[in-house]
Symmetry: C2
Subunit: 398 residues, 2 copies
């Protein structure tokens, strides 16, 4: 049985940070109810051109395994629907800012009395208790505020974003982790709790664990791990492409010197220990780059792997579809989506011996509304009445 | 009570990917036993110059809240110690490759009979069942293989690593999430299970959810989200620095056009909807860059925030220490480390209403060995005998 089988999640998140969190939970068997506003999750349109309206490719990837109900939370009836569903689930998660959530009557203080076992997770841009609390945020805002863009400036001269909404992904992973930790705690205590997962504080921690470095010891210490920041810390050219090679331990480094025909470097005081190579990181990376120019990538991979030296070709994104290992493990699969037809989809990357769930397709907006209301005890009359107002019927295929 | 209070973890991980996983668990109250080889976790030396040997600043950040025992797993007595501890914990986690783990007698098949409730998590470079299984990996190898380095090439011309061991961090977050999900499942089933968290498959999924894009529909579709890949998608210069601004919804975009004195753009067919701005993303980013040049960052922040437009200054990494929000919330704290003296440390970024644990300092190598053996039922005689061979006493302060 999938690890989160039986766990019900009311998901008021949108775009990437929250949907990443609930995607992981859906992949592990949780029943995720995606509550969307009448205009739908912004990612339905923002995530690229789609075959049918509101079903962008990014939306498909981030929302597999979830069902959708459209609720107008601007109406009292809509708020009541959300609260009634929240009373019957295990987890409530949103990336709505705190003040707005409380105005909707969906804060922890509102929902906990209805459901003391509820784990209530607020993903926010900035944590409460600080002066940015309640400022709006997207991934880019957090990359800028947290020092991620500034770390890029060390290598690329000007502040740049990473070519991923990485702050969103990482905070989503962390939110799913925190929710599951709280569910573990609930199994012991019988009680839910409120969790606050602020993007800014989490991403500042990501930057600082990595790069606080000598600043750990005081204001005069230099920040930035030189092994990572050094401009020569990069994939290396071979005779026909690019290769990644990272000999970090003494055993790996010495085997690498042998492999490139420079065994004398084992005794070079610049390179003969972890500390020495760290102190001469640019020179060490230079030896690496120079040593690898002469052969093709495939030849090097054979030579280096025979010596247990970590090495890999640089895959272009397009090459992932044909990467032999990914083909072996079937990471990318063809899915027949019920409204979009044949699409490529991803199976969960992490595997659990006790099993994985069968995941439903990413939903069309609102298509599970009536069914979900029924499951949470709304009567046929209530459902009929709601569906003409606060709860919207499924968007029609156009 | 902290959510993972009472959960015991035997942690055979090193460097960053695994220690990130168990750091999260320690921050949430788990009791983490770090089992190190006689040479110690590589990060003790690789993580920067330290005040005392083997206590690099990166090691301090990634290993707070853990205790250390040094065990020589090359000896039979050492393997027996690891198995006996594993029999008494809730979670076993390692980033040792599968074949080596089985040779140590520490695979799932070995430990599950001793402890059917054990959650056994193997963090690997490459998943079993694929042809790269058991190849060695570091963060850089995975950034190269997964398309992360290639995504950087779209913007920076050549494949580059991100200036973080981001694959390590993300896989560590995912491993902690998976472990907690399995603990949730165990609360229902009474049984542990084996989890495999491969870095490559997880990071390929990270890249592909983000950038599979039109390739979702077939081989002729173009990869890469242009909103993220476009070279003009970057922090923007103001009169005195850099600013991040992301008006994504119609309301935000229209308010932004007002703010920069170009209200006519609301009716411009290139910019009057989410889809239109997505189709003209370079032009839209150009308007943004041009519009912001005339005022200082602080002025813009006031103007933009008053209109609810997401905006933030670009913080240099060094500025995080004085960022007023981070100061308000106390993310960075001064800690008196028992052997390293006064250092800066990070409190957990995510907050749980039911409480947080008091975390111990990052350990000196092996300093908790005898105490840990005692807690797992080794007799005084056994401990004395082990400490002269398979289990090493604490490294002495030098």
């Amino acid at each position: 049985m999938a690890p989160l089988a039986g766990i019900k999640v009311l998901d008021l998140t949108s775009v990437v940070v929250g949907p990443t969190c609930t995607l992981l939970m859906a992949q592990q068997g949780a029943e995720v109810i995606k509550l969307e506003p009448p205009e739908g999750d912004l990612l339905r349109k923002l995530g690229g051109k789609s075959r049918t309206p509101g079903m962008s490719p990014k939306f498909l990837h981030f929302n597999r395994g979830k069902r959708s109900i459209t609720v107008d939370l601007k109406t009292e009836a809509g708020k009541a629907v959300a609260r009634r569903i929240a009373a019957g689930v295990d987890v409530f998660v949103s990336n709505i800012r705190g003040a707005a959530l409380r105005r909707l009557g969906l804060g922890w203080e509102d929902l906990s009395p209805l459901n003391p076992r509820l784990v209530h997770c607020a993903i926010t841009g900035f944590g409460s208790g600080g002066r940015y609390a309640d400022l709006p945020a997207y991934d880019t805002i957090i990359q800028g505020a947290s020092g991620m863009a500034s770390a890029m400036a060390r290598t690329f001269e000007e502040p740049r974003y990473m070519p991923f909404v990485a702050a969103d992904h990482m905070t989503g992973f962390l939110a799913a982790q925190a929710i599951c930790a709280a569910l573990v705690g609930r199994a012991a205590s019988g009680l839910g709790q409120a969790i606050e997962v602020p993007m800014f504080e989490n991403m500042a921690s990501f930057v600082l664990t990595e790069h606080m470095y000598q600043r750990t010891y005081g204001p005069e210490g230099e920040m930035g791990d030189p092994r990572i920041m050094d401009p020569s810390g990069r994939p290396v050219r071979t005779a026909d492409g690019w290769i990644c090679v990272s000999p970090n331990t003494d055993a790996q480094a010495f085997a690498f010197f042998e492999a490139i025909g420079r065994p004398e470097l084992k005794d070079d005081p610049r390179f003969n220990s972890v500390a020495a190579r760290l102190g001469n990181v640019a020179a060490y990376f230079g030896v690496r780059a120079e040593g690898l120019r002469g052969r093709k990538t495939a030849e090097w991979l054979e030579i280096l792997r025979a010596r247990q030296i970590p090495a890999m070709q640089v895959n272009a994104m397009e090459e992932l579809f044909d990467d032999p290992h990914l083909v072996d493990v079937g990471l990318i699969e063809t899915q027949m989506h019920h409204s979009e037809g044949e699409v490529l989809a991803l199976r969960p990357a992490t595997r659990f011996s006790a099993g994985a769930p069968v995941m439903c397709d990413a939903p069309r907006q609102g298509e599970d509304g009536a069914a979900i209301l029924g499951e949470f005890g709304f009567s046929a009359d209530e459902i009929e009445s709601l569906m003409t107002g606060a709860v919207r019927p499924a968007e029609k295929l156009q």
